[in-house]
Structure formats: structure tokens, C-alpha cells
Symmetry: C2
Subunit: 479 residues, 2 copies
């Protein structure tokens, strides 16, 4: 890969500036779930568009949607051998309780080789790694080795409700797969220093339950013992969703689950590493789940249902004798092939309706339906990605089924181009939790990998490679 | 009761001024459960002391405790036939969610004969009714008909942790019952226009449960299905506390419950009114509870356990894919004779420990242990209270077992003097809920009743009355 020497040198030289840019980007609290952050969403989109313009990309613009804008830019190299889509998102999840953060979530701080702040690893750091890779080529060669379209959305964390419609309607994307690869750097690595190509993603479905009882909060002295307490009913409904062994109790839930491919390419090392990471979150007794499956299978190849939040009545300091008028819970399913979120929604509604006692009302709403996907690691684009990751990190990548969800991947796979899931977040980066951070050296290696990837995609030879001619992944080496 | 004509006229004339004083008092956000409100607690105590001084009471002062100060004042009339304690509290519960209030909780507003604001009926309105009654006597006669001590505390809503110690240690209160009556106006009436003497109070015990799982919130995509979710465990623990019929499932919980006195003086009308009030909170299907008991028995003569609040994970707008690190619940027991809160705490701990699964930790803490009490309605003080209520409201009072809890009543009964529970809040006044209010005409009638009560307590004849010579309560008249 001598052809990329100059861009790689430029990347090294210009990297500190990109770290500074990342800090600016993280400082924008672009929380997509919070309507009060609309202005920050716009600021983050404007920030990205300005960077793409400064790189010299053409048609750098904001594509308006009924929700948050999509940042769009293109580069055309006449006669280029392939077309690559670079995807990322500029929105972040809410930081949650400030007291759990050691530094304010939107005042990024560099410490010990990490940059801390909400969105540092999910997904602003990887987006900046993409920008830096484009910059490395453009600043040295004045062109990119392939045609590139950048597409950065602002609604990934709320289920990409408008991007999928955009992909259906907007040219040139609408006319079937038009890209040879759709690079998504919103996934995590198997571990620190372990580059990873993700080969599967779980789908998702979010649900919100609201149990309503008395017209308003009432005094638990005056009424305690004589009316249904919505908090009790909600607890009973939640408790009914799993059996004691950790299996989901909703009738028919497992019907469409494809039997796990026990002979998949992943070996024991991946499972061991995943298990070790899980135990690091809470000690040796924390592992728990569906009987008959390993921790790795539970996290990535089996479906799951989790309560993400509950709220009822008095939650401030001290005691308050009330029976709450309402109790709410946020739930999320993680789904695997061939489960369909719409069918799961029907099953949940039926399960709850059968168990709802008299005297309370239940409202159930759904969001974020996303189909699960499996990605073939033996396509030409996947081959280029694996070679690029090995070149960038100095080590062959692991292949990993991920338990997470990226809403657009399924749309990409069917309409846009082969998804290439090469992400640079570490499992201990605290994505979605407090003290989110990104490992700046992993991000630099990721950016180098992207420089290589663009070079590799420019070689027509890549496109003739078949799965049989590929080296098997050297997963064993990383254990 | 011709002897009270002049004070009653003065009360009428000066009442509008006392309504204005009440608005000032309600405007002080003296929330005792919130440490940030310490300054407001002090302001409320100072406000009360200033009013007592202005009335001409002696020794008006703040008695310091390890917590919030007790406001104290005395009046001595040489040769008086009896000594009366007037008790109330100047602290309030937290207002909760502002959006549920139609006007800000600490900006009192008069509307339709009510004054709205947190504490209007619990307990600032009744305290002002007491002050107004004292003022009626002092401004016309220059003296009170009996010896009076005022004791207004600032920790009633958090279980009166220091007042009970004060009653044990402070002279002259410490030397056994030294008052002929301890008037507590912190109870509710059976209904609008229905004066009420309360004859029983449930005890209480508050508990806080905290289930801890992973070290911090983790991504539900990465870990969902493979670790114990503390929110699930909390829901299962809460669900285990009741059976499907509404009976508390904690082993041994009902052991010490005294069999209900089916032949108690309450007739069907009270039960019918209580049931109607409960149904008004949520429609015909809301009534639910321990089988074999009426709604009235469930609210007042049977114990209960309610979840007052639950909190876990993400509770803000939108979805967030996390497994929460912790889940908490606030519970409160309402207890009846002869249950002991300390024993109930032991039973709850045992119940939870048996059901706690591996992989999570549970912390349980307790507060507000208060013994249940039953008060004889045929004592001389109770007779005076009933006559005073009839004179003040123009209608014989109902006798009512209340489901609520007033921490100090049990200490009063054993150490201070016969508790006389004559309160002026209506059941629909929203105590502890949003839009708390007080019916100003009920408060005025209550204040008139207190003017009469002081006169009646000055007559030695009252003390010779036995229960057999009393008219039976005319409960039937109010149905």
C-alpha cells in the first residue's frame, strides 16, 4: 500500500488539529431525543457542513427532512473504480444524571489518551476520523482515490425515522445499490487494540408503557390499601415479561428466531473476550440470561428485552406518602433474524392486555422498529475493509456479531450498497453511559485504516475476489 | 355558649386579615424533605414565632433540635380549670411536578372560596385557624379561658424524628400527661361541611430499596440479554409484595393485626361516604384491596403497603438504550394496632433477602416508624371537642378512623395529654397532591369551633363527664 504513504504522513501531521476539531464537535449538545436541543442539532449539522466545504467536497449541503437535517457532500473522481458512501451521525443520546459524570458531558476534556464527553465515541469521534481520512487524501493529492458521498444524519439515536424515507426517495441513492461500499464507523471494536469488522447487528423496537390509576396522585394514608396502585401494576407487568431463568415470557416471541449458526466463523476467543468484558461491568456474578446459550450468543445472536427506565410517583429526596396517578416504563427489544419488530409489537400488546387488572388503564406506544441484519464478511468490500484495518492497526481484525442496532444498515444493505461496519470505539468507552470517551490512538488507527480503505477500493482487482479466495480471519491471534 | 359571643364576633371581623396571613405563610416553601429548603424552614418558623409574639403569648421562641426548630409559646391564666396544648406543623411535602399544578404551589391564589397552594390544608391553614382562635379571645378579653401552650413543629412530614425526643426530655412536658387536651388540627373532615373527630390513626414505616447491578449504566445493545437488569429485579421484588387479590404477601405481616371491632361506633354512612370519595378519584372500577373488608376498613382499619415512587434508568424524553446501573423504589407501610414498625421492617428485609437473585445487590433503609393509635371518643376532652365542633359548624361531628398518620399523636397520648383530633381539611383538598387547597369557610368554622373549645375546656363540669353520660354520636344524620 505504498500508494497511500503521502496521505498517511499528512494524516499524522494534521491529526492534532482534528483532535481539536473533535473537541469542538463534542461540545455541541446535539441530543436528538430532547426537543429543547433543536438549536444544537442545527449547530452540529452546520459545523459538519462547514468542515466538508473546507475539505473541498462538492454539494456540501443540509438535506431537510421532517425531522433533523442530513448533512450531505460528494466527491467525484472521473474514471474512479468504485463509489463509497461514508455514513455517520452527529446526534447523541442524553447525558443522563450529571452527578455520575466526572467532567461535564459537553465540556470535552482530554485525559490519559482519551477525550471525554457525550458523543466522543458514539459517533462524533468516528465521524471526525472519516473527515481526517478524506483530508489526508485531498490535502496531498488534491483528489480522492474513489468517488465518495458523505451522509451524516441527526436522528440515529431516535431510530433514523426520516433517513430511511430519504433513501427511498432521493436520487441517486434511490435506484438500488449504487455504492460499492457503505462505510459505517458507528460500531465498537472487540477490545482495546483489536480492530473489528462487524458481521451482524440486532434489530430493535422501543416501547413505552404508561399505567394510569387515580386522576391524580392521592394520599397513601387516606387511600392506601383500597385502590389499585399503578406502580404495583407496572411492576407486575414488567415482572411478567421474563421467567425466572431470564427467558422472555411473551408467547410466540422466539417463534421466528433463526436457529443459531453454531458453525459460524467466530471462535471461542471472541466469546471469551465478550464474557470477560461483561464481567468487568459488575463482577463474576453478573452474567445471566437465556439458558443454553453463551454470554456472547446472548449479547449478539439471541433476542433480548430490557427495561431502560421506570418512573412513578415521588422520586426526589425523602419520603412522600402518595399513591402515584401514573407509572411509566421504557422498554427496548433487541431482535435477531428473522424476527419482525411489527409482529413483536403485536405480541407485547397481547401479553400486556391479558395481564392488565381492572381499575387501571394502560397506554403502550412503540418507536424505533429496526430489522436485524447479517453481513457477509466475504464480499469484496469486506475484504478491502479487513485489509485496511490490518494495515491501519497492525493486526488482523476480528469478525464480530454485535448486539447493537444501527437503524439504517438494513436499508443500506437492500438499497444503497454493501454495509462495511468498521468502528473504532472500545467496549469500555461508555457509549450511552456516563463518562463517555474515545481512545484517541484507536481513532487515529481507524482514520489510517480509512485512508487505506479508500486506496484499496480504487483497485479493480478487489472486485473480482470471491469469498473462497480470501484468507480466513485470524481471530485466534487476538485471544 | 354565650360566654364566647364577643370572641366569635371578633373572629368574624378579623378573619379576612387571617386569610391574608395564611397566604403569606403558604408562600414560604418550607419543604422538610428537601435539604435545599433549610432557609425556608427557618423563615416559616420565624414567621410563626412573630405571629405568636404579636398575639401577646409569652415565651414565644424557637426550640432548637438536631433538625428543624420547634416553635413554642405559652399563655397562663391564673386559676384556669385546664391546660390545652395546640399542636400543628409548619413544614410541607414537596410539591412534585410543577406541570400538574394549575397555579405555582408557592404562589397562593384564592379562587372560588378556596386558597390554593402547597400546605394550604396540610397544615398551615389549620395552624392559622388556631392562631385566629387565640387572637379572638386575646383581642377581646385580654386573656384565654384556659392555659394554652402552642407547639408547632417543622418535621411532621418526615416523621417528627426530633419532636418525640423533645417530648421525652423537655420540661414541663416530660412529667407524664400534663395537658387536659392536645389539640391536633392536622386531620381531614369526613366530607365538605361534615365536622369530624378522628378516633384512630394508622402508624407508618417508610422504606427505600436500591437494587444495584452493573457499575454504571451500560448499553442495552451490547449487554442486553446477558446481565441482570436491576430494573427487572426491582419490578419482581415489588410484584412479590402483594398477591393478586391485593393482600400483602410478606410472611407474618398480618400476625399482630388486632381483629377489627365490627361493633365500633361507625355506622354504614361513614363507610358509604368514604367509598364514594374513593370512587371519585378514579371511577367505579378503582376500588381494590384485601378481600373480606369494606373500602372504609381497608383505608383505616387494615394495614397497607404502597409504592410511593420508583426510578430507574432513562426517564427523560425519548428512548435510550441502557441497562440502568441502579433502580430505586420508595415504599410506605400504613400499620394498625397492634403492629410494630420495627417488626415489620424485619419481616420486609427477610422477604426481600429470600427473593434477591444473584448478580445484583440490594440496600434497604427505613424511616418514619410511627405506632398506630386508637383514641377514645368518650373522654371529657373528646366531649368538649364534639360540642365545640357542633357549635362551630352547626352540625354534630362524625367520628372517623383515619388511614393517615401523625407521628406525634402516639407520644402525645402516652406523655402529653389526651389527643383531640379536630381537623378542617376536606377530603378533596389535595393534601400531598397537586393543586392542594383549603376551603376557607371550613377553616373559619374550624376556628369558631376552637373558640368554643377553649370556652368549654374552662368549665370544670366537663371533667366530671363520663362516657355513659354522653349523647351517642349522631353519625346517621350526615349520610
Amino acid at each position: 500500500m505504498a500508494g497511500a504513504t503521502e496521505p498517511l504522513d499528512a494524516l499524522s501531521a494534521r491529526w492534532p488539529r482534528w483532535v481539536g476539531e473533535l473537541a469542538d464537535f463534542v461540545a455541541i449538545p446535539s441530543v436528538s431525543s430532547d426537543p429543547r436541543r433543536r438549536g444544537d442539532i442545527q449547530r452540529a449539522a452546520d459545523w459538519l457542513r462547514a468542515r466538508l466545504r473546507a475539505l473541498g467536497m462538492s454539494r456540501a449541503s443540509l438535506v431537510q427532512t421532517p425531522g433533523n437535517p442530513v448533512v450531505w457532500a460528494e466527491w467525484t473522481t472521473p474514471g474512479a473504480a468504485s463509489r463509497v458512501l461514508m455514513y455517520g451521525h452527529y446526534d447523541v443520546v442524553t447525558p443522563g444524571g450529571r452527578t455520575e459524570w466526572h467532567s461535564p458531558p459537553f465540556l470535552p476534556v482530554a485525559r490519559g489518551g482519551f477525550l471525554y464527553g457525550r458523543g466522543a465515541s458514539d459517533d462524533k469521534g468516528p465521524v471526525v476520523a472519516q473527515l481526517a481520512a478524506l483530508d489526508a487524501w485531498l490535502s496531498t493529492r488534491g483528489r480522492l482515490p474513489v468517488n465518495v458521498t458523505c451522509l451524516f444524519e441527526g436522528e440515529e439515536e431516535i431510530g433514523s425515522p426520516h433517513l430511511r424515507a430519504l433513501l427511498r426517495h432521493r436520487r441517486p441513492v434511490a435506484r438500488g445499490p449504487v455504492f460499492d461500499a457503505a462505510v459505517i464507523s458507528d460500531t465498537r471494536m472487540l477490545g482495546p487494540g483489536l480492530p473489528t469488522l462487524v458481521t451482524g447487528l440486532r434489530g430493535s423496537l422501543a416501547a413505552e408503557l404508561e399505567v394510569r390509576g387515580p386522576r391524580r396522585d392521592v394520599h397513601s394514608g387516606a387511600f392506601g390499601g383500597a385502590i389499585r396502585n399503578p406502580a404495583h401494576v407496572l411492576a407486575e407487568l414488567i415482572a411478567s415479561l421474563h421467567d425466572g431463568a431470564g427467558r422472555v415470557s411473551i408467547a410466540g416471541f422466539y417463534r421466528d428466531v433463526r436457529p443459531p449458526g453454531r458453525d459460524r466463523f467466530e471462535g471461542q476467543p471472541v466469546a471469551r473476550i465478550i464474557t470477560a468484558q461483561l464481567l468487568a461491568q459488575g463482577g463474576p456474578r453478573i452474567a445471566f440470561g437465556e439458558p443454553g446459550f453463551s454470554t456472547y450468543e446472548r449479547t449478539a445472536q439471541r433476542p433480548a428485552l430490557d427495561v431502560n427506565g421506570i418512573e412513578a410517583g415521588h422520586t426526589g429526596p425523602g419520603a412522600k406518602g402518595v399513591i402515584p396517578a401514573r407509572a411509566t416504563a421504557k422498554l427496548s427489544f433487541r431482535l435477531v433474524p428473522d424476527q419482525d419488530p411489527r409482529r413483536v409489537a403485536v405480541l407485547l400488546r397481547r401479553h400486556l392486555a391479558r395481564r392488565l387488572p381492572r381499575g387501571v388503564r394502560l397506554r403502550t406506544s412503540f418507536s424505533k422498529p429496526v430489522l436485524p441484519v447479517t453481513i457477509d464478511p466475504f464480499t469484496p468490500a469486506a475484504h478491502a475493509a479487513r485489509a485496511a484495518l490490518e494495515a491501519g492497526f497492525g493486526r488482523a481484525p476480528a469478525l464480530l456479531d454485535s448486539g447493537g442496532t444501527i437503524p439504517v444498515v438494513e436499508s443500506f444493505a437492500t438499497r444503497v450498497g454493501t454495509p462495511v461496519l468498521m468502528g473504532f470505539a472500545r467496549p469500555d468507552d461508555g457509549m450511552h453511559g456516563p463518562d463517555e470517551r474515545v481512545d484517541l490512538s484507536a481513532l487515529a488507527a481507524g482514520s489510517r485504516s480509512l485512508v487505506h480503505f479508500l486506496a484499496l477500493m480504487s483497485k479493480p482487482a478487489v472486485h473480482g475476489v470471491t469469498s473462497r479466495s480470501l484468507t480466513p480471519p485470524r481471530v485466534g491471534a487476538i485471544a
